[in-house]
Point group: C2
Chain length 576, copies 2
């Protein structure tokens, strides 16, 4: 029996478009002779739909489109479609008005609904806000074979694997007891570094514990801050990977379920990223491409300072959108070093993107003159530094508004953490491409990029101004000087990051402990960090909350990014 | 038996400071001969603590401070303290690691814990993110009297009152069955228009249904976007209000529980706001005062355009902080009308606040010159309009950075809804004071303010530049011309809001239906609105999401504000 995986890239809220994605995949599956097609969690509405779920008209429309889809699908193919359904008992029994469901469509009808039981309500997830948990696990049958249905988090409660329970029940265990022959999972599991290894290890543990093979179908695509990597896969009863679909792209795969063995047979296995740098790179490229596309843009603009952060973002944008769709703007001030312009121009040349130069010295002068009566007797300081950054932010937004280019912001996670960035200045943008990438990782990504390991598959995207392919692909995309010079905001003469911040390797370790591992200041000091430095960093992180609250959405690649999964009060006293 | 209510204003995270507030109230209660003191929900940590709860060191510190508080409290006084406690069964049984609890402290010890059972996870609330629901309702005894303990939402599930259940169980009903003589509730219930009437009606229904009197203790104070109005109250067994504490200020009240009657006797009843305008005014004044104070600021700056929005915000800030702590900045452009400056200056004079004038014409010219090569051949448009707004935003932030004044932004809810505002321009600020106030309400608040109904109690805050009281309090605080002229952004010649937007009474009605009532476009049209207008408004609201995502926190006064309780995807297709 053939089973197909449709690893789809839905647009949140686009019921018609998403239904068409499912229908197209179903036609492929039918042609390939599949008996069953799997799609990702909530793929009819796109994940995460968030407060769109609070519009009754949206829920109604989803129901209608599901009915229509059932009628449009090829005959003799069963399709599991992730969608949202009303909870009919909500008013009488209490409970949330919706279920996070899977519908089984077959021969023009909706045959059965399955409801997600374990609702993640941590990090970026808010499922208890919308959904009532399903009460029981259920299966459907194909011939004599029982196919147990689970939805994403339903499989993330193997207490042996985690060393603790996160929820009272375990749907995999329940389905095993019910005699399921095969367990399928429809997921929308966002990417974070190394996540796929974790998924495989966890499911391998469950598969071997219960002796049931599993097919895991994940969503792919960027939706605001979240990047879904896909990487759908299947494990046979021994816990061996028998199928692995592509990461970071839409894909389709066909699996063979051997009815006599009640197990999955080896099928296609796509190559995986060879390093975490490669993985992060792919994630960010996808995140940019989809955000730009799904917001209705095609071109982007960004400031090129000659520094490493904007260099990396420019490279990501170029690979995501093509060089002809990226505009770099150089805005030197009297405090800019000579090499800044040269480095930025070399970068732009390497990438094949066009540039504009708008010096800001005169604007700085006029601001100073206009503020002189008010600022008389005060010294040059943060206010004057920020003015420069905000002049640049204003120019970039003017270009964005004039030409319809989406502005990308280029701040990294280390800066965002300690507030070493200017609100309404360099923080400006529709998307913060690397705001979850620590500075040390910015370096390693650029070094990886320069190492040439990116391979040749993505090179066609690197186009010259005329739309032709770059034939002389530069050995080093990021100019060496950008990698080797001391980081500087260049907002006053002789300014370097190291004068205001601890060395980045130390800062990033403290930040990772504080932000991702929830360590206390005491624990971080016990790990070997200087107490004064730790206290200062903690204070900077807590005080910078007002900036982060107004930051653009930032692509999430870590277990805890600033953004929807970081909900910190601004007016507070902080104990660490 | 005397029971005291401490209506406290904690600072989120300030364990030491909050413990001191409780201790001071307890000393007062002891002196007054009270047997029992009630405090608000989570008042040891401040509500809402949000992700501070994810720092294990914070939870540990809260436990230690609670122990210390128990020892410091006066003898022979029972104190119910809202705090957070660990869930010891989380790891083994699955579940969230914390409870939202109440501790009963008496004679140096923690005698008992009560756990919140109904956890709100809608609008601004995320309690399922942190807390495990308590399994049962419990009471404690004073002599032969059983005092049932509930926490905020625990009382919001009277299905007879609401016409539906929101949760499976009803703690009030459970406590009544257990024979409670009195039910106490520790709340942190945020303000919205008319909320207190709703609370009284709901609890009156429960009290008469079960025949048990109730004492409801609410938090007061502004915490980021949320304003807690206090308005703690008590109902006797007949559902009569026997005690009502002040709204919008810290307060302390003493109640008498008649042991023979098993009922509460009439006690103090403080006056209430006489109109919704008065109520909103008090809420916004408190919200500004607390945000500024709790963020460590004392002074604020804002742009005065001569329009009604900035006029209202200036008035609120003046009453919240005193005229000497408010700086208004006038930034006329060549497109500003003559009366703009005059109106703004008259307003500042009425309020007694100081002003600065910084014309922006020259900066506009230099931006134009700098962008001319790039913008050649394009027409004056949105890009040029936004440049002006962003010049003003830059100047205001420079003043904020230079002098440590918090910048207040002045956009109203109607603008924020349809995106009639400039990101990084007039949206700049640490706090969006009226971003939940529709334009029509902005007018009614200003008219109410001018009517003199504000009374005399708050007048001492209106100070002249020298710190002295204003003796000649102007009849009209908001100059009449500001109230009567046509709204205009004044970003190009002859520009008026009505050229870009539907009339505000129509727009605000559509927005309220769309945003607060979750009506579909079809329903809004059916209510009598023009279909083209409705569709355009819906589209504007959906497209403006990227701006709202980067807005400062805004004070919430409605049932659905943009902000923490509005979680809309940016990259999406919207069905209405």
């Amino acid at each position: 029996m053939k089973i197909a995986i449709a690893q789809l890239n839905p647009i949140v809220g686009d019921l018609t478009g998403n239904a068409k994605l499912i229908l197209d995949a179903a036609k492929n599956a039918a042609v390939a002779g599949a008996k069953l097609l799997l799609t990702p969690e909530l793929c009819l509405v796109g994940y995460p739909p968030r407060d769109l779920l609070m519009n009754p008209s949206f829920i109604e429309a989803a129901g209608e489109i599901l009915q229509q889809l059932a009628q449009d699908l090829p005959q003799n193919l069963m399709v599991l479609v992730g969608t949202v359904t009303p909870n009919p008992h909500a008013v009488k029994q209490g409970g949330k008005p919706l279920f996070n469901s899977v519908a089984l469509l077959e021969n023009g009808k909706i045959n059965q609904f399955f409801h997600k039981r374990l609702l993640p309500t941590y990090d970026v997830f808010d499922e208890d806000r919308y959904f009532e948990p399903g009460e029981i696990s259920e299966y459907f049958t194909i011939g004599i074979h029982k196919i147990g249905v689970t939805i994403c988090e339903d499989l993330w409660n193997n207490e042996e694997f985690w060393g603790k329970r996160s929820y009272a029940c375990d749907p995999f265990s329940d389905l095993a007891k019910m005699g399921a022959d095969l367990v399928v999972n429809l997921s929308a599991s966002p990417y974070s570094i190394g996540k796929q290894k974790l998924r495989e290890a966890m499911l391998r543990h469950s598969v071997t514990r219960y002796g049931k093979p599993i097919i895991y179908t994940n969503q792919i695509g960027g939706n605001d801050d979240l990047i879904f990597d896909g990487s759908s896969f299947a494990l046979n009863r021994l816990g061996e990977v028998v199928c692995l679909v592509a990461a970071f792209q839409s894909d389709f795969a066909l699996l063979e379920y051997a009815e006599n063995l009640r197990d999955l047979l080896p099928s296609v296995i796509k190559p995986v990223c060879e390093s975490s740098d490669a993985e992060i790179w792919e994630a960010l490229v996808l995140g940019v491409r989809d955000y730009v596309r799904k917001c209705g843009f095609s071109k982007v603009v960004l400031g090129l300072s000659g520094g490493i952060d904007s260099a990396l973002v420019a490279a990501i944008a170029t690979f995501a959108l093509g060089a002809e769709n990226v505009l770099g703007v150089l805005m030197p001030s009297p405090y800019s070093s000579d090499h800044s312009i040269k480095d930025a121009e070399e970068l732009a040349q390497n990438l094949g993107i066009s540039t504009q130069i708008i010096p800001i010295g005169e604007l700085m002068k006029v601001y100073d003159q206009n503020l002189a009566p008010l600022f008389a007797g005060t010294n040059f300081g943060l206010a004057e530094e920020n003015i420069q950054s905000r002049i640049r932010g204003n120019l970039l937004m003017a270009i964005s508004n004039k030409f319809g280019h989406l502005l990308l912001s280029t701040g990294n996670k280390s800066e965002m953490a300690v507030g070493y960035c200017t609100l309404y200045g360099d923080m400006n943008g529709g998307l913060a491409v690397i705001s979850d990438v620590p500075k040390t990782r910015v370096y390693s990504l650029c070094e990886w990029l320069n190492s040439g390991e990116l391979g040749t598959t993505l090179l066609p995207l690197l186009r010259g101004g005329g739309g032709g392919l770059i034939t002389n692909y530069p050995k080093e995309i990021i100019p060496v000087n950008i990698l080797t010079k001391l980081p500087s905001a260049e907002l006053k003469p002789g300014q370097f990051d190291r004068d205001s911040l601890p060395p980045y390797d130390i800062l990033d370790d403290i930040l990772q402990r504080l932000v991702e591992k929830h360590e206390s200041a005491k624990q971080i000091v016990a790990a070997g960090h200087d107490e004064t430095v730790v206290k200062r960093v903690v204070q900077m992180v807590m005080r910078a909350e007002f900036k982060r609250r107004q930051a653009p959405p930032g692509l999430k690649i870590s277990d805890r990014a600033f953004g929807t999964g970081w909900r910190m009060p601004i007016a507070k006293v902080s104990v660490h």
